[in-house]
Amino acid sequence: MAEIGHDAPLLEHRSLWMDVWLAFRNHTGALVGVGVFAFIVLAVFLGPLLHTVDPHYLDIGARNAGASWEHPLGTDNLGRDMLAQVLAGGRISLAVGFTAMVLALVLGTAIGVLAGYFKRVDGLLMRTTDLFLALPLLPLLLVIIMLFRDTLRTAFGPETGIFLLIVFVIGITSWMQTARIVRGEVLAIKEREFVTAARSVGTRERRIVVRHVLPNVLSPIMVSATLGIANAIITESALSFLGLGFPPDFPTWGRLLFDGANFISITPERVIWPGLAISLTVLSVNYIGDGLRDALDPRLRGT
C-alpha cells in the first residue's frame, strides 16, 4: 500500500485537521491575525526579559516623559514606565481573557450537550439559557463586582481575589451563545447513523457523548472559543475602564486606559498604547475566528 501512496500522492491520507489547516492557510486575514496575536503573546510574556524595568518603580525625575531610550513609551504621572506597565497589564488581560473563555466554553458545552442529548433536561436548561440572555449583563457585572470585591480581596489577596471574581463573572455570563450552538449541533448529530450504530452495539450513553458526539461539535466550539477570548478581553477592559475592575496596582489594559484618560491632554500616549494593544489583540483574535469558521465549514472548504 505504501507504494501506491508513493506513486499516487493525491491518494495520500489527509486528516481532517490537515484539511482545515490547508483551508485556513488561504485566509490572509486569519494568517495575519495569527501573526499579530502570536507577537502580542510573545511580547507580553517574553518582553520583560528584554525590557527589565519594574512596572511599579517610580522614576520621579522623569514624570510624564515622552518616548526615550530609557522609557520607549514614556512614563505616567508618577514616573512609572509605560512599556513595562503595558506588558504587565497584557499578561493579566490575556490571562483573564483565556481563563474566562475556558470557563464559559466548558459551561456552554456541558449545558449544550446535556440539553441537546437528554430530552428530559432540555426544556429546563434552555429556559435557563433564555433567562440568562435576558439579563442586563454589564450592569449586573458591575453590581456583582462592587458587592463581592472586598470579600474576595480579603479572602484571596488583592490580585488573586479580583482575578478570580472577574474571571468567574465573565465566565458565567457569556456561555449562552455556545450552549445554543452546541445544542443545535448535538440535536442533529444524535439522529445520525453512527450514533444509532454505537447505541446498537450497547455503548453506554456517557461514552456515546464523549466518543461520538463531542468530537463532532468541536468546530463550533473552537469558533466560540476565539470569539470568547475577544469578548472576555473587551469585557474586562470595559469593567476596568469604568473603575470597577482591577485596582491600580495591577494595571490591566483597561485600567491603564482609565488612569490615562485623566491625563489625556498632557500625555495622550498613555491612552494610545494600551488602547492599541486591546484593539490589536481583539482584532487579530476576531480574524482568527473568521478564518477558523471558514476553514471548519466543509461546505466552503476546497473552493
Partner: protein, 337 residues
Amino acid sequence: MIRYLVRRLMFAVPTLIAISFAIFALLDLAPSDPTGQLPLTIPPEVRAQIRESLGLDEPFPVRYAKWMEQFFVNEPLNLVERAFDVEIGDSEGRTRVISYATRSPVVDIIAERMPQTLWVVGLSYVVGILIALPIGIVSAYRQYSWFDQVGTFVSMVGFSVPTFFTGLLAIILFSVMLGWLPSIYDTTHEVTDLASFWVQIKQILMPVLVLAFYNAAQLSRFMRASMLDNLNLDYVRTARAKGMRERAVLLVHVLRNSMIPVVTMIALGIPTIFGGAIITEQIFRVNGLGQLLIVAIQGADIPMVQTLTFLFAVLIVGFNLVADVLYGILDPRIRYE
C-alpha cells in the same frame, strides 16, 4: 398572532419576575451595609434607627414584596396620574422606591436623566442605521469589489475596537490636538437660538459618532449577509427576466425581503446600546442613566441600582418581544399558530 402574543407575554412575565428576584436577592444578600459609609461617631442605636427608617429591619420576603408593589403598582400609577393629570386613589399615601443617597424617589431621578441618554443613544443608533444600511447594500451588490473589501475591514475594526478607545482617540484628535469639539457633554446647555444650537451640535457630535460607528459596524455586516442570501434567489432572476430596471429589482424586491431579519436585529439591538451607553457616557461625561448607575453602584445606593438594573432587563425582554412580533408582521411566511 394575538394568541402567540399572549403566549409570549405569559412567558415574559415569569422571566421578568425571576430576574427581578435574582437582582433583588443578589443585592440584598451581598455583604454591604448602607450605613457603613456614615461617620464612625454615630452611635449604634442611631445606626439601628437609620436602618429602621430605610426599612431594612423587615425580613427579606416582605421587603421584596414591598419593592414589587412599589415598582409594578405604585410607580406606574404615579406615571399615569402625571400624564393625564388625574388622581387615582390615595396618591399621597402610596410608598415609592426611595434612593438611599438623595432620599428622593428613584423614578423621579431616572426621569430627569432619561432625556440625555435618549438623545445621545437614540441619535447614535439612528445615525448608525443610516450609515450601515447603504454600506451593507452596496457591499452585497458589489461583493468582493474594493468597496466590499474596505467595508469588511472597517467593520471588523469597528466592532473589535472598543468604544472606550475610539472615544478617547476622538477626544485626543478633535479636542486636545485640533481643539474643534468640546470633550465634555454639557447637559445644562439649552438651545435657544442658532448659535446655541450650533454648540449643541458640536458637543453631541463626538459621542454620537463614536457610538454610531460601533453600531454601524455590526449592522452593515448583517445587512450585507441578508442581501447576499436574497440576491441569488429565483424571484430576483424572475424580476430581471421581466425586464425590471436593476434599481427596482434591488431596492424594491431584494431590499424589502432582506430588511426582515435586519429590522428584527435593529429591535434586538436597542437594549444592548443602553448597556453600551454606560461606557460612552463615562467617556464624554454625559450625566445620563449609565452615569447614574455607576454613581449609584459606587455609593451602594441599593434601591437605585435595583430599579435601574431591572429597568434594563425590562428593556431587553420587551424588545425581544417587539422583535418577535415584528418578524411575524413583516414576514407572512411565519405562522405562529
